[in-house]
Symmetry: D2
Subunit: 410 residues, 4 copies
Amino acid sequence: MSATNKHKILNDPIYGFITIPSPLIFDLLEHSYFQRLRRISQLGLTYLVYPGAYHTRFHHALGAMHLAMQAIYSLRQKEVAISEEEQEAVAAAILLHDIGHGPFSHALENEMVPGISHETLSEYFMAHLNEEFQGRLSLALQIFRDEYPRRFLHQLISSQLDVDRLDYLRRDCFYTGVSEGQVNAERLITMLHVAQDQIVVDAKGIYSVEKFLVARRLMYWQVYLHKTVLSAEYLLLQILRRAREVYQPTMAMPSALRPFISGQLPPERQELIEHYARLDDADFMAGIKEWEQHEDALLSNLCQRLLHRRLLGVQRLASRPSKARLEELVQQTALHLGLSSEEARYLVFVQAVSNNAYDPRKDRIHLLYRDGKLIDIAEAADQLNISALSKPVTKFFLFAPKAVLPQRRT
Amino acid sequence: MSATNKHKILNDPIYGFITIPSPLIFDLLEHSYFQRLRRISQLGLTYLVYPGAYHTRFHHALGAMHLAMQAIYSLRQKEVAISEEEQEAVAAAILLHDIGHGPFSHALENEMVPGISHETLSEYFMAHLNEEFQGRLSLALQIFRDEYPRRFLHQLISSQLDVDRLDYLRRDCFYTGVSEGQVNAERLITMLHVAQDQIVVDAKGIYSVEKFLVARRLMYWQVYLHKTVLSAEYLLLQILRRAREVYQPTMAMPSALRPFISGQLPPERQELIEHYARLDDADFMAGIKEWEQHEDALLSNLCQRLLHRRLLGVQRLASRPSKARLEELVQQTALHLGLSSEEARYLVFVQAVSNNAYDPRKDRIHLLYRDGKLIDIAEAADQLNISALSKPVTKFFLFAPKAVLPQRRT
Amino acid sequence: MSATNKHKILNDPIYGFITIPSPLIFDLLEHSYFQRLRRISQLGLTYLVYPGAYHTRFHHALGAMHLAMQAIYSLRQKEVAISEEEQEAVAAAILLHDIGHGPFSHALENEMVPGISHETLSEYFMAHLNEEFQGRLSLALQIFRDEYPRRFLHQLISSQLDVDRLDYLRRDCFYTGVSEGQVNAERLITMLHVAQDQIVVDAKGIYSVEKFLVARRLMYWQVYLHKTVLSAEYLLLQILRRAREVYQPTMAMPSALRPFISGQLPPERQELIEHYARLDDADFMAGIKEWEQHEDALLSNLCQRLLHRRLLGVQRLASRPSKARLEELVQQTALHLGLSSEEARYLVFVQAVSNNAYDPRKDRIHLLYRDGKLIDIAEAADQLNISALSKPVTKFFLFAPKAVLPQRRT
Amino acid sequence: MSATNKHKILNDPIYGFITIPSPLIFDLLEHSYFQRLRRISQLGLTYLVYPGAYHTRFHHALGAMHLAMQAIYSLRQKEVAISEEEQEAVAAAILLHDIGHGPFSHALENEMVPGISHETLSEYFMAHLNEEFQGRLSLALQIFRDEYPRRFLHQLISSQLDVDRLDYLRRDCFYTGVSEGQVNAERLITMLHVAQDQIVVDAKGIYSVEKFLVARRLMYWQVYLHKTVLSAEYLLLQILRRAREVYQPTMAMPSALRPFISGQLPPERQELIEHYARLDDADFMAGIKEWEQHEDALLSNLCQRLLHRRLLGVQRLASRPSKARLEELVQQTALHLGLSSEEARYLVFVQAVSNNAYDPRKDRIHLLYRDGKLIDIAEAADQLNISALSKPVTKFFLFAPKAVLPQRRT
């Protein structure tokens, strides 16, 4: 992309081409903060299970922006007035919605900067960029924060049927090869409409929405919460925790990573952002490679497991296991690996994961009928199963070294 | 395909290539009875709504056979013993399972030969071919009729998760472009297993089965029972009925069609088959084109509607409309078109259509767990929505000329 | 499609959705003349070789219109001014460009109405529709006939890189499953530009054009001129010729077909069009089914071959075979089938077929360089092979019954 | 993948599923040496141009193995005898054929370990693994080195039409979205045969081979030798060179990278391999991130360019530019960036790149005719353009900072 050619077209294996809609968007794309997303994988360590899943936040952000532009084009066809300024603001807001993600995306998301979520970090970045771009992102920020009066624009980028979800389902399905998750994002977009200042769906799109919700549910259980993916990602988290625990200034690691391990992060927002903007997957991975040789046997063990794919075993359970059962596994692990009980707990733990495909307590997905009535998808005739999908499903996973955890399938 | 090259490979836009597994199967393919299926559309008049849906029974039969061969290959990998004879018999049985279909497949299926279903006709054809092939189809017939002791072979070609359904969903979705219906047939097949002489699914395939059932449900409401498709196909049925009613020996129509209109079908099974084997979509369409000019105003009106796509209007209703409402529409139609009330009833009628995605009263789909247990998919943990999908959904459709039926959407 | 909803969207398995751009276009679509194209197969009898290839002229015309609308959208982005009237005229012109096709498209194209090509018939139809639509198609006709001053609009619908070719290659490849022919029509369209009142291609599209030309060449030899497809289609032609030769008023056939066999076509253009508009694949197929029983042994033999896929054998030859060789085959055939030599010549014949992927003697495909220069694709640097592709390739095919023609492969 | 489940199936977005053919292959896959390939990108820095292209050597090796297994299955169907041992050896050989690749694959391939190519390194790895696996890879090594008497097995994994090329074209095309490069790998494989101990192609596959060669040519010019990709990859090379030049023991970098920068590589083969096996993309990227802050202005400038995508400008030239022209650019660059002339030469340079789609001086691709004759594809009738494709095409690229190199397109 050259500075003289600001209506650039990018190749995308999913949508074919993505057009950059304006010079401002082009300049955001070229910014170091955004280029960093090329080095942040979209799905953390999912590639250890689905070897095609190396795509990045950069690509997802572009894809979601593309869908947002398509949605605006389609809404305008239906005579929903959207100004050029609003369009550019939506493009900027969706492009930057994930800019606060750190190494391996969700795998570490609330741990990298303790106490600050990636959404908050995204806002910091946007606020800072807004200054750098002399206020040209103000409208984007308003929309992002849902402070803009035309609230449907916020819903387009953040709701239960937004371009973010449409792109990530489509993209994650494409790269993992899990065809169960396929949604026809372009088709759904042509069915969107605006009523009562909300994004709604034409009533004839009822089955497309059902398909979308079921696809999302299946992607959760087959990919995002796949037991081996969880096993890899909790390992990453344990590495982060242990590295912080045994931290010494002499400990080898990339400079960009150090403040996030030592805990010496600057309190000032702008400085924090600058540190954060230097950090990506490569630093964390390079750190793990250093620590594979670390003298702390536990840290070294955790790093070796990750690098050479000797992941913890996993059992799916109907309910939370007893304390006694857990303690027994901890003792076996300690014995087996020559660790203290305290240390062994890094390798033996339980996680409850929960998902519901449609959450009526959040915003709702409404169908628009010909007479102008709006009906919640879960209440529309014939949608018994969507109302079934609204109930959260919780599963328990027990993790421990395979040597102590007999393997079972499913 | 030449007689000297009996391991022929055919191009298929869906699976890439389909290999003919044996010379017997090749000879069945080449038989006139089977070649006739090239002129029987798979989805009746669905092409009036989905302009890509011209695929034929010939193509579906080949595709289902291909999937059956893949399933056998995969089962053998899992050490399910299946002999060469059984494999060929399965290939023949699935290839011929729809050979009794007549013009426009389901659209006219129980009307073409009054009192004899297409399944029964398929059996007649198979029995006759078995004689012609000197008993080499006996095993195929046994499997088809579920009289063979190893019942899983029958289930493979006829059950709620059989290669017939897998192929037609995949194929109909491909040709209509209704991506909601996409199933990954090849993936599901690798998950099949045999336990207790039944076709079962590996427990880890739980979400793939869910996806399959939801896809099937969506294809029913978006394609097979789409209101405009129904409108076209009921028109076809009314044409058949009216043509029979006004039949005269001088009435123009193709020779192959005549006995099915005049009612002068031979009582003897073999002769009936021979007549039937000459009949295809082209005859019926050519008949309709003759009758467009017929002196009976009603028949002519019906034919014109079909040929030039002036279909009846449709309203979807929550419940059956009152007799009075219907009668009023009949009178308006009679007045509007200069027909008697009797005649107008050909253009004004109600149909109830019903579907459930999974029918536990028929055979069940069982998941196979690692400990050998079989669990009905609707009862497996976390499958609330499949149990919701087991309840039948019924919809009422009211058909009448658009001039008397105000248009509403959905 | 209802008359009240004239911005209809249609499903297309290839492009996803096709939007009808204006009420006039909607009305053209609904016209009986255009609806007839639903019963004209795009690729004649190609389905006897590629069982998925049942798509129709209706579908191709829609697809080509869709691509034309995409091209106009893209050209406008590049600041090529195109008025609303021009856009609608292009849509109408491309939609109707093939409306003169008769049964089985190219297979019979210059024989159905002796002496009048399908292009001329298309023009007759368009002229007649223009009257019916009170002159609203005048601009479309001008563009179609290349009489409109802005000639690039004609090129868009008729040249060596037009939306007609882009759609048919993409579509025929999709339905046959011959992946060698795949072109990325949407991508090529984004690369089109206008210079010196011509459609040209951005220089960076050089390899996309190369790919398009190679794909077209491969589709010719693997599909359009596939020897078995030719064998089926020449059979169709022989049936037409023989039926005309033995015609008697008592001969059974659909009414719509009769004047085209008897030769009693009205000389007046408007009447001719009306006859022609009633004719489609179903009539011809129904005729063949009648003639299977015809007393003329030759006609009956030809029809049986087609219906039951007992096609003539084919040999590809490096040069035209000698008269003696041909005569010998004629005699053997006559003997074998109990025909006169005269009759046997219907079953033994030679055809030369010829194709070049790029024909620089017709219009040329120009690349547009940044400095504004236009260069013929065959002369652009690095395109030795395109210049090789400009030379016509001719092949000879010898057809005869398999009983007298020993089978060879390739 | 668990140790107890050695017939594992992996998801692949391209082929659907990849089955691990034997426990030995499973153990190779699990080996640290092979797992390292998960961190080696297949296409170096191509993702800076095609944002989807993050796939890895791990994935390509699996895909090529899958195709090899398919080829063996297909050849056995054609009665080519291949033993179980040979099959496993082919699987191992193709799986390991790229194991010697280092960070960013081809971008740095002959520079990482000066004087030793990645092919030689692959052999070292294989020899070492053979010891570790007690000689069970001996046959694989023989085939890899083309020392096994049945030479077609070597050709299957290494020739101008091998499973390596088939997989990488298919895969690189999939991930970049450059549809011009699409080849139907599975189809080509069904057309392979063995004659005179060579891999040959059935004569009817002539157009598929043509398509394959053209696709490969287009992928070279649109992806592998895309000017911006080259610009990024030469930058990487310059970084490596400069880092070595300014190396000091205090220089920050990951431990795994250090010996490759300091030049202190162990001379002993086994030790070398162990160092090399620790190195991957993450180390190199983490090094670049350290050096962004390095005191050497040139090194820092090079690293910043890469990290924030401020790549060098590129001009494509018809011939090598004059020394004077180059010198002028060097001086301008030195002045502009405050560098010495010596240093500026890292930013201003010319590269000639060359490619021919088919190289008849290497091994040849032969077509097998029905009479048993073998004909070189370039000499087969009708393949003028393949013979055109045999001529090498050379292009010159001039690289320099955009500030001194005026931008032109194409």
